[in-house]
Amino acid sequence: MPETFQIHEEQQGAVRIFRLIGFLDAHTAPQFEKALQAKVAGGDCRIVVDGSALTYISSAGLGVFMSFIEEVREVDGDIRIGGLISKVRQVFDILGFSEIFRIFPTAEEAVNSFAKPDAGNVAMAEGE
């Protein structure tokens, strides 16, 4: 069975980058949940999700973002998202997630945003 979903992790300074590849649906969401859980439990709360290779997301995938965001923001961390393709981005938009999560055009910009003064818990939409 070929892998329909993969996660590549990378550390860049204080930021943990999760590069998601393929389909994030009810079948693969538990994989993402486990990977995030491991880092957040270990205190890594500045998280960037690089969505440039994410070709699909359903509510099960959005649910993973939803269930961790409070926890990381409580300790001045955040989950920021970059590089979403428009087919995936529209699902965030429809559910109003674009106002709750900070979404950047690229993962790089999402990473850099943590270095700025407003690095902490800011629930504000970025322009595209």
Partner: protein, 148 residues
């Protein structure tokens, strides 16, 4: 009515009730969506709506019992694409499920509760016919755009 029936085309897929098969279900829907005049983004959303409906059947109606089957039927005509998701599982009262604000779900640290709302937002019409244990059917309609 007769005219409409003559140009109606129907496609049906039956798969084991396992989340592993959601990708297959989405491919099926995407291929059929490519037949109608939905644009690429709309076609992608149609696949999301059907995925949500089937994920709910797999999880809630059948409780992840892969010996059960999920049926997806797509019917296209000149006006619309209709997708019916059918199961013989435990059923539920859809009117009792109130859509929740994502901001509230976040406060509750919930990981679910978004699916039915998403279906409603994507599709033009959504109707449930529930006969628990016999036949539960979710009928979803998306209007076609007029060809340019």
């Amino acid at each position: 009515m007769e005219m409409r029936e003559s140009i109606e085309q129907s496609f049906t897929l039956h798969v084991p009730s396992s989340s592993e098969n959601l990708a297959l279900i989405r491919s099926f829907v995407s291929e059929i969506a490519a037949r109608v005049t939905l644009n690429e983004e709309e076609a992608a959303l149609l696949a999301v709506a059907v995925d949500e409906a089937c994920a709910n059947v797999i999880e809630h109606a059948y409780g992840h019992d892969a010996s059960k089957q999920v049926t997806v039927r797509a019917t296209i005509d000149e006006e619309q694409i209709r997708i019916d998701v059918i199961d013989q599982g435990k059923g539920f009262d859809p009117d009792a499920v109130k859509p929740k604000d994502p901001r509230l779900l976040i406060k509750e640290r919930a990981s679910g509760g978004l699916g039915m709302g998403l279906i409603q937002r994507i599709m033009d019409e959504v109707k449930y016919h529930v006969v628990p244990g016999e036949k539960n059917e979710l009928k979803m309609i998306k209007k076609r755009r007029k060809p340019a």
